[in-house]
């Protein structure tokens, strides 16, 4: 099972942000949708191991983010909306290499993996440029490169296309949805994008109000929006 939650609950600042989340999903790409404040980002952070659950159970790729923390951290990556927050080093290639630090690879292999990843995201020509001088779309591709260079088994992306134009949004989405051995959990307000996923989860005020085939869940959300 790729994603398994049983009665998951999260309290933040004394508020129940997630309550009784129960899920079993096995799709390669899973969309997470719902209103502002419904708990999507909190759910994504639980999966990525950044927020601890207070009750219930979670398994991501069979791993518990709490008890299997080291292995979980190695296999799960997170991509956020704001590329400026994700870029740490001043130069494009240095920033991609930064993600490999915890793995202590030999220098040559490290350089090779960075080069390969830059190539894949079309950033080779920008490798030596100041990172914060890139355009918004390029910066988000750099953030993806920083996540994918670790060759994660699961990528959690929280509204990764929010700040992008149609063309860049599509490029980023294509990379995320690509079938190259990783599983994707994608939080998004872009319902057309959600439809491109295999499965979807709809959050409503901290609970799961629908889960299953993406197109059906999105339909349900759109019906709710109209009334």
């Amino acid at each position: 099972m790729i994603l398994h939650c049983r009665d998951l609950g999260v309290r933040l600042d004394g508020r129940d942000v997630l309550r009784g989340v129960t899920l079993d999903l096995d799709a390669r790409t899973i969309a997470v949708i719902g209103d502002n404040g419904s708990g999507k980002s909190t759910f994504a952070r639980v999966l990525a191991g950044l927020v601890r659950r207070d009750t219930g159970d979670v398994r991501v790729l069979g791993l518990d983010p709490d008890t299997d923390a080291a292995e979980h951290r190695r296999r799960v990556a997170l991509v956020l909306s704001n590329p400026d927050a994700q870029i740490v080093m001043p130069v494009v290639s240095e920033d991609v290499a930064f993600s490999l630090r915890p793995q202590r690879l030999p220098k040559v292999e490290r350089a090779e993996r960075v080069a390969r990843t830059l190539e894949r995201f079309g950033l080779t020509d920008l490798a030596e440029r100041p990172a914060h001088d890139l355009s918004g779309g390029q910066k988000q591709l750099l953030a993806l490169a920083g996540a994918f260079v670790r060759e994660p088994g699961l990528v959690v992306a929280d509204e990764p296309t929010a700040y992008l134009d149609a063309r860049n949004a599509r490029r980023v989405a294509d990379h995320l949805l690509a079938d190259d051995g990783h599983v994707l959990v994608l939080v998004t307000h872009d319902l057309a994008l959600a439809r491109r996923c295999g499965a979807a989860v709809l959050f409503t005020e901290g609970t799961v109000s629908a889960a299953g085939v993406a197109s059906e869940v999105v339909d349900e959300y759109e019906r709710a929006l109209v009334c």
């Binding site: 952070r45 990525a48 950044l50 951290r73 190695r74 990556a77 997170l78 991509v79 956020l80 704001n82 400026d84 927050a85 994700q86 870029i87 740490v88 080093m89 001043p90 930064f98 993600s99 630090r101 915890p102 914060h132 920083g146 996540a147 670790r150």
Partner: protein, 198 residues
């Protein structure tokens, strides 16, 4: 959130901000000016107790304040003990602590809004010597608005680093945090200009 104010009904709570500040400032400075003598320590302790108990702020609050000052207390007391010996150490530490504790009553019993108003009135005369008090007030207000925003950006940076598998550190976090802050400043500057600030 950004306030030391503790709601209450003490005499101090009901006193207007300006006079209250004046009275407590004079009292605090008087304590600070006491001589370095054992008797002064007793005066300090008595004055502090009086200042917290009589208006009705209470001993609990005094306890909280003392606890909050423990580091300042240590900074003062340790140097004194090492270089001057126990009696001056006691007197000087009591003197400094008492002055700080009495002055702390102002923000404890006054809302930030009232303090800012008092400040603006206090700055009024400076207008005549060419200070743009309206702009100064705007700067203070914009800073207050911006603090929670930057606190959120700091949290975002921390999170992004953990998400990349590295332990968040000050050194690695400060670059993105500063860039985000500068970008925020650019947008804020535009918004201010668009709303008539020149």
């Amino acid at each position: 959130m950004l306030s030391l104010y503790r709601p209450g009904h003490s005499v101090l709570h009901r006193l207007p901000a300006g006079p209250k500040m004046l009275v407590l400032a004079v009292a605090a400075i008087a304590l600070a000016a006491l001589p370095t003598a054992a008797g002064a320590a007793a005066v300090c302790a008595g004055a502090v107790l009086l200042a917290y108990v009589v208006p009705g702020v209470g001993l609990r609050e005094l306890g909280r304040q003392v606890w909050g000052l423990r580091w300042i207390f240590a900074v003062t007391a340790i140097g004194q003990l090492l270089f001057l010996g126990p009696e001056p150490a006691l007197a000087n530490t009591a003197r400094v602590t008492a002055a700080v504790l009495v002055a702390a009553l102002v923000p404890l019993t006054t809302r930030v809004d009232d303090l800012l108003d008092a400040l603006e009135r206090g700055l009024g005369p400076l207008r005549r010597i060419g200070m743009d008090t309206e702009r100064a007030a705007l700067l203070l207000a914009v800073t207050i608005t911006t603090i929670p925003v930057l606190a959120r950006l700091a949290a975002e940076v921390r999170e992004a680093q953990r998400a990349r598998g590295v332990r968040p550190s000050l050194r690695a976090g400060l670059v993105p945090f500063t860039v985000l802050s500068l970008r925020h400043a650019d947008q804020l500057g535009e918004a201010l200009a668009a709303r008539g600030v020149r």
